[in-house]
Each structure stands twice: as C-alpha cells, then as structure tokens.
Symmetry: C2
Subunit: 663 residues, 2 copies
C-alpha cells in the first residue's frame, strides 16, 4: 500500500514536535501549519540534490519565516541531506547542525540565513534576479545551463515588515516570473489574532506590485497546492504569490492559537497531537515506507548528473563562456586585478589630484567594472551622487535581463537584502551605494551579510558633517562606529585615491561585507613614500625622526589635516608621527609586532582625528590620549563653514596636540 | 483686482527659486511642483496660528519629502510665522532658521523633522492617532477641545521606503479618518524617470490598506485640489490619499526632469522661470497684495482665541479632566512618581527576588501605567516576551480610540516613527518593546527621536547571547554600542529591579529617547548598601578597603558576575572594586570629581565586563585595562551553556582580572 501525502506531511510534523519537545524550546506552530505546503513543494516540485547542497542549478528555497526551522531541518533530513536524526535530536544545542533559526554555511541545504522577518523574501528577490541574469548571459540554444526556481515560504510577519514591500515592489518591476512565494496565511502572530494589526488585503497589495496572485487556497489540500504551484510556474513574466489558508499548529490541540507559535506544545499536547496525526508515540520514529517516500537522493543525483553532462557539452561548444561561468559560480576573481589596481595607483600618484573619494571610488570602479563581469552595481536612487554608475554600467533591462546595474529606487533595506541574495546565490559580486547616514535603514541587511560572510560592498558616501547644507538629518555621526562594531564587517575610510584603490581591492577579496566610507568633498592626494603599507589597514604615513612625541591617527578626510598639523608641530620642535588608519579591522588583525611598530606602547600621547563619534577611538588612544571628533549632531551650512565651527582644521589639531603634550 | 491663486502659488515658487539660487544649494523641483497643492491646503484648509506655532489644536503639517524645505519655509514666511525674508535669504547657512531639511524645535512652525524619506508619513500616523485618542478621552458634549487634521505631503521616495508600507497599513487598521496625505506624483526621482524602478499601482496599494484613494487629479488645478481635499475630509473613517499628478520643477525649463530635483536651477533658468511665472526678476520680491492674500495671522489668532475660550469654559465644566489635559499637553509628569518608584524599590529590597530585568521592567510599568495616563505602550508583536503589556494596559480600539496600548504588528521602524509622532504631537509619552537585535530595523527612528529630543522609551529585551536557543540572528552583539553612540540617546542597562526602577524614572524625565537594555534571563537582586548613587549612571556597588588593586566595571547581567568575582579575588588578597555602570551617558555627564571618585585615575587595572562588543569599553579601561565581551556572533544553545562557552562566568572574570594584574 502506498504512503499517503498526509502521512508524508505528518512525518515533518512529528519530527518538529519531537525535536522541539526535546529541546524544550522552539516554534512548533509554523512547521505544523506549513507541512502540507512543504510536502507539495519538496516532494513534487523542488529540484535539488541532497548529496550536493551546493549544486548550482538547484532550485533555491527560502524559509523567510525562519522560526519554522524545524520544518526545514525535517525536510533536509527526510529528503537525504547530511542532517541526521541525531542532528534533529540536538535541535538548538551547542555545536549542533540545527540551530534555532536556519544558518547558511552552517547546515547543509540551508540556502540562506533567516529569522529576522522580511529579510528572506527580500533576499529571494536577489536570488531570482541572479538566476535570470546568469541565464541571459550564459544560456545558449540547446544549453539551458541556468534554469531554476526560487521558492519562498513566508508568513504574516514577513508581510508586515517594510522590507517585504520594498523588495516585492521591485520584483514586480523586474518581472521575476521564476520567483514563487507561498504565504502561510494562518491569521495568527505572536500577539494573537492578527485582525487587530494586520487587516490589509494582501492579494490586492501584490496585484498592485504586478504579481500573479493565486488563492486563497486551502493550504492543507495537496491537490489545491499542486494546482497552484503549477499555475505559478506557468506565468513566466510575473512573480507569483500563493495565498495558503492554513491552521497554525495543525493537528494539535493548540491549533489556531498563538500559544503554539513560540513554545513547545508540552508533553501532553505533543502526545495527543502525534496520536491525532497517526504518528507513532515513540519520539523521532518515522516508518520506513514514509522515509522511502521522502527520499530525494536518487532523483536528485540524476538531475545533477544530467546537468553536469550538459555543462560538459557546453564547455566544448562555448569554452570561453563556460570558463567564465565556472569561474564566476565558484566565486573566483578574474586574474589581473592587481595590475588594474597598481596601474590605477601609478596614475593617481602622477596626477596627485584633489578629488572627493566618492569620485575616486567611481574612477576605480570605472576600471573594475569592465574587468569583472560578476560585478553588479546599483544605488538607492543616488547613482550620480555616490558614483556607482560607471561608463561601463548598463541598467538591467527586465525584458532581457541584460545589464550590470540596478536602480533600486529609494529602498536601502531591500537593496541590502537583494545584494545578499545575489551574493549567496553565486555568480555575482554586488556593490551599491547610498549616503552613509542611510546605512541606518539597511543596517540589519549588513549584519546578515556579515553573519553569512557574503561578499557585498557598500559604497557609503557623504560620510561626515561635510555633507554640509543638507544638514543634520543627512550628516552621519555614529554610523562609522555602528558599522565597525558589526562582527565580520569591514569598514574602509580612504584618505585619497591610492587608499581608495586598495580599499576596493580588499573589498573584492573579503569574504564578508565591506563598507566604503567616502567623502563628498575634495581631498588632496597625499605623499606617502614609495610603498605605504595600506593593505595592513593602518600605517605610518608621515614619520618624524626618532621616537615621536605624539602620534596623530586619522582616517579619510581628516588625514590631510593631520599631515598639515604635523608639519606645523615639527616647525615648533614637536616630533609628530601621522598614522593613517583606513581600515581598523584589518589593522587589528596584524601581528603584535607590526601594530607596535606603528603605535609604540611607550608613546601615550596619541590624538585621533575623525569626523565621527569619538568613543570609538579610545581603543587606540586610551585614557592618556584625546580624540577630535563629533559627539553631537551636525548642522546645515556649507561644509567649509562647518569644518571651522566643529574644529576640523589643522590649527585645531595642532592646538589639541599641544594641549595633550602639556597634560 | 484680486490676487489669483496661481499668483499665490507662484510666490512660493519664486521664493524657493531665489533662496536656492542664493544658497547655491537645495532642491527646487519639489517646491515648484507642489506649490499649487500647498496653496490649496494652506490658504483654504489648514487651521493654524502663525503667532503661536505651538497652539495645541492646530492642524499638523508633515512635509514627508523634507528636501522640499523651501516650500515649507516659504509658507511659514508668507502666512506670518517668525520666519523673515532674511531667514529665507540665509537658507542653508550656519545659524539660520532655514536648514537644508526642516528641523522641529529649530524653526517655528515646523511640526516634525523630515528628510529621511518615509519617516514623515510614518510619524504622521502617530500624530493622527494622538489626536483621535486625546479626543476620545477629553472631548465632552459641547467641548470639542481636540479636533484637528494631520496633513502630509509626500513623494515617490516616501512610497518606495518600506516604512511607508508599515505605517500606512496600520493607519488603515486604525481607521485614521483625519489623516490626509497628498502624494506628489511627479514620476521623477533622483535617478530619473521612475518607470524603471517604481511601477506599482499606488492607488490599488492604498485601497488594499483600507484607505480612501482620491485621484489621480491634476496637482496644478486649484479647484480639483479643493474638491479632493473636501472629499478626503468628508470620509471620517478612513485615511485618505490624494494622488496629485504634478510636474517637478513646474514653470522652469527643467520641468519634468530629475535635473531640477537636487540642484539650483542656475541663474539663467531661474530668471526664465520667474519670468514665465510672472514674478518680478528682483530676488525675494513679493507684491504686497500677494503677501496680504497669504497672511494667515488674523484668521489664525481668531481660531486660537476661540479655542482658548472653549478651553476656559471646559476648565469650568470639567475641572479634573481639564487639569489633566493641560498637564499632558504641556509635557509635565504627574506628581508622586518618586513615591511610586521609591515604594517599588523598598519592596524590591525586601523581596530580593531573582528576576529577569524584562520582568522587573514589567513590574515597574505595572506601577507606572495606572499612575501616568499619558503613557502609551506597545510592542512589535512581542508583547508577552518584552513585558510591555501590563494588567492596566488596554489595547487601543480603533472604533472608539479608547485604550493605552498599541499592537504595532511586526513593524519596528514604523513603531519607532509612530512613537515619534505621538511624542511630537504632545499629550503622550510612548514606550514600546522588541528584542534588542531588532532595534536595527528601527535604528533611524531612534536617531530622529534623538535629533528632535523626543521623550520615547524603547524596551529592548533579550539583550545578549543569553537569548540562547534562538541563535545568532536573535543575539545582539553590536547593538548596545550602536545605540549609545547616537547623540542624545540614553541607554540604561540595569542589573536588577532596583536599577531598573531608576532607569524607568530617568527615562520619563529625559527629553530624548531612552533605550532600556533588559535581560531575558533571571538576575539576582544585588545588595548595594543603603543609598547607591544609581541616578548618577555609574557608582561603586561593592568596594574594598583602601585603593583598589583592580576595578571591575559591568552593566546589567554581568554585574552579578563581577560581584561574585570580587569576593573570590578578595579571598585571594586582591582588592577589587565593583562599579555598576547602568547608564554611561549619565555617568559621563557627572562632574570630574565624582567620576574620579568612582574611577580613580591612578587605578589603571580595570576590567570591563559586558556581553557585547568590547570596543565600547576602552573609553573607561584605556590601553592598560581589558574587556571581557563578545566580538563575534553568538550561537544557538541554552543560555547557560553559552555563558560557559563565551566565558561569562565569575571564574573567568577572576582569571581575566588576575591576568591583568600580572601584566
């Protein structure tokens, strides 16, 4: 007798109940509610190979309501990924493969880290776009080597979050027909029945975005789900959302109640639910025939083998394209970038131009974009100001998916999540720009990039009070510190074109997000000696004879002030060393010997100068040093006037240095 | 001959052109495009009194596309506010009343600071809700003392931002019939024609939210605008959006082009535009009859006088209510709060309970909510976990507007902006909670609260790795530092119920945002001696005899570890002082003498212990001290296990202290 689809779905439910009971922690409601949706998608539609979670042409699956992690872990286990029954039994325990929320890079088969609501659906838009753009570039007649779907499960919470609006609106603009979202419409969020805070007409909203809206269907009806998914796939020019009416905690006595959202059912309810679902009482016990019905290994291996064969043939037929494609999907940079950068630096040293680093950054990008086809640029509606659109940048055309530049509109958070989606999909290195102050809007996307160690580059211009006339709403103060303190996030604040070129090269080579902090205003090119150790993140830019009386540390627009101040101090008989510190994270990672050579322990008279929150710099200047920075909001006035008012002048650096020496 | 409405609108255009030309900086496109909308609203609908920008019952006006600041300044000048022609001539200059973006508290008549797109419309939802809730509470038959509209101008950028989705969806749920948004639908954003990134059907989207949608009308047709505004006002149960098709840069040669968005027209275009508009060539010259036509002083004074008379009569009729109303709208706290708090502390000292500070916070709130009618609580769908909903909290009912608690749904950024709107409107002290890690989503709202010095309180629970099983996506690392570095934002991280009570009292008394950092896990009540100086932000919680060998500094959940470690160290002959530092900002503001009494200069062996990014603490421990913190992401496991793995044990504090003393 064959296994029923309900039995398969109930296997997920049973594993979720058991794992959450054992952990005494977790979210049973969503896995129980979405098990039928999962069965329809994973057993009847999803193209994947459990033996190789990294198979490039697999369908992507995004669990945007990541608290339903036990749904995903059950699926991975049952279909044959390297997620064992023991792993499920160690749900939410130290060192296990099954953390509370899905973590990409940690658990095989998890395509993206989710949990923070809304971020999953937003990143899925990037994944679906990546597929279309790679397909456009590399597919050739008879060789459809890029061809996969991006599926998303999401809940009410994701739809409430603003980032879902930003990203889904863009998905409509971009006509992402291979993006299919299944909405777990269960009417419950943590505070209870959502009628009190979520009454919008979701169908109408998504129609407004240009999506195909399917349903409301019964999310526990396997045939209705099949039909809906088929309908969604059939529309290739619009993303689809399938509205699935479900019961949170399906099968348990707590069904349709928020009580099963974020806490174990408890032993009695768990037992009763498993009984009602017709599952054995024994924990973690799945019948052999149900296991067999779920096993996707054979089909998966065959699917990948067919694709591998196709790719081999493609390599013969289109060797140049194939080479580039394979290089890109493996995340390997093209050769020769060192030369591109060193040529740029040679020219910059000759030209010695005074340029804003946002302009310098654009100049570097103008060399990199033609050399790196996987670069995909963009901006949150500030392309001209932030210098992300080069002469080689072509705005992506959603009819053909040609191009290498995205107009994200005024949507910073979605921009960040979409960049994460592009990066985690593979085949792309995304970069995009906005004013630094608006990194606030996108902060959590940057954090998620760091958590996943995704190579994305943020071009954050107008990086200080020197924004000028736009005033305090547009002048960053605390943002540099905010970004630097995100673990595994790297911030570069170059002082001129030479440092900027290094920063870009470092960004391309960093497995994790990089933020470039760039000036609005012109900065002089600084003479640094023949081989400055810029790549070490901090280095002596101008030294004195012997042990310094004082060290001036600075970044970006304030380095030139310190150079000028050092000359003045020298004339007064004060030995001042200037340390340029474009990247604190990279400097911190150097060996102790190098760090001490730059910042000798015995020199305690240290003055840090940076047009930002001062608190950050005490890690370098300690209690005996001083910081010239800004601990209050800015003001609206021309940047030069603000420099005077706020004390960012060489004279004030000299005065502060002398005061410090007198202390 | 009477002045035409076009002439009145063109006066705004002329002033905007002239001021931006003179400043050589600014955004002419939007003021030129929205001048007719402004004429219709401000000359024919807006209830306000230029002589008293703080008149409580005035209509509120929110320029959500704040870059159109010259529109607002022109309106303020022309209608008779204390914004002179000279002020307009000093647009965007140091010390002027006319900064680049409108700043509340800086320029008379600016109801809220805008510029960061989307935040204005979101805060307007809070303002409109404030009006309805105060009306419900204080209006009595014959005494409609609270009765005003909230008007918003917004552009494409605001509608792209996710926060507009969050807030407008809630405005629909809350049936805010007195909220009217006028959408400047000009088809242009900074990157050009919006067709490439903004194609959604805005009308359908807002219908989905439950709004009345009016238009598309011709945004340059005064009569169409009148009719639309009348229609909007007539629907008292739904917020309204009027879609106004306009031409950015109307009247200039750069009309309908992004070129006039963010840069002056240039002398030639400016001259030609003023000529085309029939305005005198001479800069800042407005004909007397046009001035007269705009002058709103007489009508405004009469409107306020009538209201004042009504309020006087109301005081006679309803003295108790009137007294409370006047107290609330003046932002004065009720008397007796000290007693409430000191009684709470007395009980806490007796009980010595081990409680999570999120529970303690709820306990404090349970005393405060009944005592302070202006408190309006809420949560982003985590009411139970964050402890914001007390026994005295009543969920606001959008049919009657009774209640003192808001279910914001999973919408952190809108929650922040709506709290700002409630606070800036007056009559309310908003507080709301979410997990600390999700303060990321709302970060810019907190910044705006700080910039406006608004009294709002963020209840940020689950404030460290001790979140436990939910894993790294839910465990804050860098957030404390992020929040502390926002200028004028105050962060309290109490170690127990006594400190928590102080923190709440301080929050209520602070003109600016306060963030409470609260534990998920239980924390012991600590014996501090009879009168600990908690209100000073940092104080000696446990001292040693004589000069300390080492100072242990800690906050929140790590203070108890240090107390335990100090006892162990003492037993080993090491004199250790424990400093509890619940609020660094308040400690920093103490006089030098006090600070040195807590942290004597000569004691350089200092160990800071906080389960967060270490970099923050070097400002207190310098180069000679050490920090026990977390510079990497967390992990999913029970909190107790993580404490061991990450070294947050008294033993490890002792080991670190001893290592420091050996250095």
């Amino acid at each position: 007798m064959s296994v029923t689809r309900s039995q398969c779905a109930n296997a997920i439910r049973a594993l979720a109940i058991d794992a959450i009971e054992k952990a005494k922690s977790g979210h049973p409601g969503a896995p129980l509610g979405m098990a039928d949706m999962a069965e329809a998608l994973w057993r009847h539609n999803l193209k994947h190979n459990p033996a190789n979670p990294d198979w490039f042409n697999r369908d992507r699956f995004v669990l945007s309501n990541g608290h339903a992690s036990m749904l995903l872990y059950s699926l991975l286990h049952l279909t044959g990924y390297a997620v064992s029954l023991e792993d499920l039994q160690n749900f939410r325990q130290w060192g296990s493969l099954t953390p509370g929320h899905p973590e990409h890079g940690h658990t095989p088969g998890v395509d993206i880290t989710t949990g923070p609501l809304g971020s999953g659906i937003a990143s899925a838009v990037g994944m679906a776009l990546a597929e279309r753009m790679l397909a456009e570039k590399y597919n050739k007649p008879g060789y459809t080597i890029v061809d996969h779907m991006t599926y998303v499960f999401l809940g009410d919470g994701c739809l409430m979050e603003g980032v879902s609006h930003e990203a889904c609106s863009l998905a409509g603009v971009w006509k992402l027909g291979k993006l299919i979202a299944l909405y777990d419409d269960n009417g419950i969020s943590i505070d209870g029945k959502i009628d009190g805070w979520f009454t919008e007409d979701v169908a109408k909203r998504f129609e407004a975005y240009g999506w195909q809206v399917i349903g409301r269907i019964d999310g526990h009806d396997a045939e209705a789900l099949d039909k809906a998914i088929a309908e969604a796939k059939a529309d290739t020019t619009r993303p689809s959302i399938i509205i699935c009416k479900t019961h949170i905690g399906f099968g348990s006595a707590l069904a349709d109640s928020e009580k099963c959202h974020g806490a174990p059912l408890g032993p009695d309810n768990a037992k009763a639910a498993k009984e009602a679902l017709g599952m054995p009482a024994e924990p973690f016990c799945i019948a052999e025939d149900v296991r067999n019905a779920w096993d996707a290994r054979e089909a998966g291996a065959a699917a990948e083998a067919a694709w591998n064969a196709l790719l081999e043939a493609y390599k013969q037929e289109h060797p140049g394209l194939a080479k580039e494609f394979v290089r890109r999907i493996n995340g390997i940079l093209p050769v020769g970038l060192d030369t591109v950068i060193s040529n740029f630096i040679t020219k910059a040293r000759d030209a010695k131009e005074k340029l804003a680093t946002r302009v310098t950054s654009k100049n570097v990008l103008s060399e990199l974009v033609p050399a790196i086809p996987e670069l995909i640029g963009g901006s949150a509606d500030l392309s001209g100001s932030v210098g992300t659109k080069t002469a080689s940048s072509v705005i992506m055309n959603p009819e053909t998916y040609e191009g290498n530049y995205l107009c994200y509109g005024v949507r910073e958070f979605a921009m960040g999540c979409i960049m994460n989606g592009l990066a985690v999909h593979g085949g792309f290195i995304p970069y995009a720009g906005t004013f630094m102050v608006f990194s606030d809007y996108a902060k959590h996307a940057i954090r998620l990039a760091a958590l996943m160690k995704l190579r994305v580059c943020w071009v954050l211009t107008h990086d200080s009070y020197a924004v000028g006339e736009d005033g305090p709403t547009h002048q960053p103060i605390e943002q540099l510190n905010m970004l630097r303190s995100i673990p595994d996030c790297v911030v570069w604040r170059p002082c001129d074109s030479e440092e900027c070129a290094h920063a870009w090269l470092a960004a391309l080579r960093t497995q994790g997000p990089t933020c470039l902090s760039l000036s609005r205003q012109g900065l002089p090119f600084l003479d640094k000696g023949r081989e400055p150790a810029i790549e070490k993140g901090g280095y002596i830019l101008r030294d004195c004879q012997g042990t310094p009386d004082i060290i001036l540390l600075a970044t970006g627009s304030e380095v030139a002030l310190c150079v000028e101040a050092a000359a003045t101090l020298e004339a007064q008989g004060v030995k001042a060393r200037v340390v340029s510190m474009p990247c604190c994270e990279v400097f911190d990672a150097q060996d102790e010997e190098y760090k001490k050579s730059v910042l000798p322990c015995e020199v305690r008279a240290r003055l840090a100068v940076e047009a930002a929150w001062t608190g950050y710099w005490h890690r370098y200047v300690g209690l005996d040093g001083d910081v010239l920075g800004l601990d209050h909001f800015g003001a609206s006035a021309p940047g030069g006037e603000l420099a005077k008012q706020f004390g960012f002048t060489a004279d004030n650096v000299v005065a502060k240095a002398l005061a410090l020496l007198k202390k």
